[in-house]
């Protein structure tokens, strides 16, 4: 029952689009029975594609094609529990579904209206099962304005997007608003760029609109170099038409006719879906020449990134789009005046543009009623690391870290103790337990020494060493630095040396102060945000976890048991019944058994501290000291 409309040709007016929408809606019927299967990257890794095929086969075998539709969608956010299956319209959520379960879902749920208990989500620590998607705590506190459509549409079908109200905002902008009105609406909404800096999107559009020069460009950034963040990917993969709609509106507002989507090469599905969406939208007159007969034309090209974190910097990204290496330049002239090919250019990331249709549809007033005083709307975070429910969440600005990590995230993995949450990627900071009640928005995060960044939230527990985390970020940034300016090139190298020596047990008195000095130099001296932000992870870990640094330097001890030269693995004899699992796991035969059912013996002189024994032991008989 997949909706395929008869009329696929070019639409020449807003009225024709509306007729098509009604056609799509009536073909879907009032209460369409639909099985949606998530085929986002996470669920695919768990076998989503095979599962979808199994559903299609089963429905065909039973001849149920007219009763129920099957739809593969983009990411629903709750990737931890994939593959996800949601039965609409009731929104029954099945999780971790396997092809073997398909028969039961069809016979019980579809044919008899019964729920398959074993596939439901169980509240952690209880036996209580939750039937409906909207009752699962993970979704309950969310406000899925931008991201919600992902669960309802097949990203490869433009009809699906039109069916859920797609392109109404574009029609409104093109036919009943002047470009200035669009700009001022977005300005009044308070939308701030979701990619990092948090600059007002409307103000950016305005200065580009007012800039001299006929040709202007719009770039949609889907590069997402931030390790740990994947919302742009999920939006582009799951709802590419929504991004295109946002782009057309932005282009109309700034008076530009050519745009680019810059996508990481690591995101092949995003590239594919974006290419396909552009082709379909153009064929239907929703993109390209004379959109819907409005007289406005806008073309989009795709440009693939080459995997360079520094291309998160606008000037570097533009250089890369021009086919040069991604080296940033000083921004004394704004890109809104001289950007791509030295023309006025707006660069917005995917999530920012995805917000635009909402604002146009429902108005600045409505939009600015959500969020905090200076951070409006919702934000998508990727909640990952040591938290029970990992995935993508969309929450109103102003929600506290505690609500995110405990209510939505379901608390810390394996009931361990929360230690820190790292927000904002490699240029952000680590916030400790004392900050859990912080209301999350652009300004509060920076006040706490961190930042919003693109919205990565990486939760860490007592087993994570904060000095190691600082070292990790600095060495990451050292590897990504373009090397153009000295503070960054030399400073990061030096900081990495110091952090390495601390984690190796060779830290010296004065190292912390040296790190602080270098951080300051980088903050003020680096040319671009990569070097300038590099101090954040270091400074915030020193600020909140100074005792851990001191334990490494003074006591030559890694309290979290992470830094290899400072730890040993030991067998806790009292816990070890000699199951011998660890013996099989040890790659260097450092563990031997003195006899059946006897605690094993670990030879420290052979041990390479790979941790394999620790990972396999189910009885806590291996400890790290």
């Amino acid at each position: 029952m997949a909706v395929q409309t008869t009329k696929q040709g070019r639409l020449n007016s807003a009225a024709e689009l509306e007729t098509l929408r009604q056609e799509i809606k009536s073909a879907t019927g009032e209460n369409p029975r639909l099985i949606t299967i998530c085929c986002g990257t996470g669920c695919l890794a768990y076998g989503g594609a095979k599962l979808a095929q199994a559903f299609r086969d089963e429905i065909e075998t039973r001849g149920l094609q007219d009763k129920v539709g099957v739809k593969t969608t983009g990411c629903h956010g709750f990737c931890e529990r994939g593959p996800l299956v949601v039965i609409r319209p009731e929104n029954i959520l099945y999780q971790r579904v396997k092809p073997e379960d398909v028969g039961d879902v069809i016979s019980d749920t579809i044919e008899q209206g019964k729920v398959v208990e074993r596939l439901l989500y169980t509240l952690p620590g209880t036996k209580e099962r939750v039937t409906y998607e909207h009752d699962v705590p993970f979704y309950k506190k969310q406000m899925r304005l931008v991201f919600g459509a992902n669960g309802y549409i097949d990203p490869t079908l433009i009809e699906d997007y039109i069916g859920v109200g797609g392109y109404t905002a574009m029609v409104k902008a093109l036919f009943s608003m002047t470009p200035d009105e669009v700009v001022s609406e977005v300005k009044r909404s308070g939308l701030r760029g979701r990619g990092g800096g948090g600059f007002s999107a409307g103000a950016k559009w305005e200065s580009t609109r007012e800039a001299h020069g006929g040709l202007k460009y719009l770039i949609c950034n889907c590069d997402e170099g931030d390790p740990g963040a994947f919302m742009d990917r999920s939006l582009m993969e799951g709802n590419p038409f929504g991004i295109l709609e946002g782009m057309v509106i932005a282009a109309y507002a700034i008076g530009c006719h050519e745009g680019y989507i810059y996508i990481r090469h690591e995101y092949p599905v995003a590239v594919k879906h974006a290419e396909m969406a552009i082709a379909k939208a153009e064929a239907m007159g929703l993109l390209g020449d004379n959109i819907l007969g409005s007289g406005f034309s806008f073309k989009i090209k795709i440009n693939r990134g080459g995997g360079a974190f520094v291309c998160g910097e606008s000037t570097a990204l533009m250089a890369s789009v021009e086919g040069r290496i991604g080296e940033p330049r000083a921004k004394y002239i704004h890109t809104s005046e001289k950007g791509l090919w030295d023309r006025p250019t707006v660069l917005n990331n995917v999530e920012t543009l995805a917000n635009v249709p909402l604002i146009i549809n429902r108005g600045a007033q409505w939009y600015s009623s959500i969020g905090t005083a200076n951070s409006k709307g919702t934000k998508i975070f990727s909640l990952v690391g040591k938290v029970n429910n990992t995935g993508l969440i969309e929450v109103p600005m102003g929600i506290t870290l505690r609500e995110i990590i405990y209510d939505i995230g379901g608390g810390i993995l394996k009931n361990k103790k929360f230690k820190a949450v790292q927000t904002g990627g490699p240029s952000g900071g680590c916030l400790p337990a004392e900050m859990l009640d912080l209301a999350v928005d652009f300004d509060e995060l920076s006040r706490a020494g961190s930042m919003m960044g693109s919205g990565a939230m990486i939760v860490m527990d007592e087993d994570n060493c904060m000095v190691d985390i600082a070292r990790y970020f600095v060495s990451f940034l050292e590897g990504e630095s373009c090397g153009k300016c000295v503070p960054c090139r030399e400073g990061l190298k030096r900081m990495n040396q110091i952090l390495e020596r601390i984690t190796n047990g060779n830290g010296r008195d004065g190292d912390i102060e040296l790190l602080e000095d270098l951080s300051e130099t980088l903050t003020w001296g680096a040319l671009c945000g990569l070097g300038g932000g590099a101090a954040n992870p270091v400074m915030s870990t020193i600020r909140y976890f100074r005792d851990e640094y001191e334990a490494h330097i003074k006591e030559k001890r890694c309290p979290a048991g992470v830094c290899k030269p400072l730890i040993t693995y030991n067998i806790v004899e009292a816990n070890c019944p000699g199951c011998n699992l660890c013996i099989k796991a040890c790659p260097v035969n450092a563990i031997t058994s003195p006899g059946k059912k006897m605690p094993v013996i670990l030879d420290q002189s052979k041990c390479t501290k790979c941790g394999a024994c620790y990972d396999v032991c189910r009885l806590n008989a291996v400890e790290v000291r």
Binding site: T41, L44, A45, G228, G385, V616
Partner: protein, 156 residues
């Protein structure tokens, strides 16, 4: 996809034609060539520089600047271990260690029999499943050291 059967000239010409010899598409052009050739052979870079009429140094600088490119031949199977933050905090380092010992390769190397190339990447955008290993484009999530062997064995 066997490397021998593809003529570099044909590949380069096809790709250049697809991009209408637009030098601004250099990154994409090199990416497409790499997909076909599995790495960027020197002769291809020379042909690109001639075909787009841009200096060879510029082609080289782009090919070496971006992490996505390899100037050395790669193995038939690619194993990528994600070292992004989300994976790091869940033990990616241990997974990489294990991969390196099992494969007898350091990250960035290709095995002598050209079967495997082991690489690290900084986030492949499946952070919820960390630690993630990507084998020939297929994502494997929540990798632990004891799963490494079977992951490698799945490569025939």
């Amino acid at each position: 996809m066997t490397l021998e059967t593809k003529s570099p000239a044909a590949v380069v010409n096809n790709v250049l034609a697809k991009y209408e010899r637009d030098a601004s598409m250099l990154v994409g052009i090199l990416q497409d060539i790499q997909v076909e050739m599995n790495y960027l052979p020197k002769e291809c870079l020379v042909m690109v520089s001639e075909g787009l009429d841009i200096p060879l140094t510029r082609v080289y600088s782009v090919a070496t600047f971006f992490k996505a490119f390899s100037l050395k031949p790669r193995g038939r199977h690619s194993v990528q271990c994600c070292m992004g933050t989300a994976c790091h905090v869940r033990g990616a380092e241990k997974v990489l260690d294990k991969l390196q010992t099992e494969m007898c390769l350091c990250a960035g190397e290709t095995s002598a029999d050209m079967k495997f190339t082991l690489e690290t990447v900084n986030c492949v955008g499946a952070c919820a499943l960390g630690p993630v290993v990507v084998v020939d484009g297929e994502y494997v999530g929540q990798v632990t050291t004891d799963k490494v062997k079977s992951i490698l064995e799945s490569c025939k």
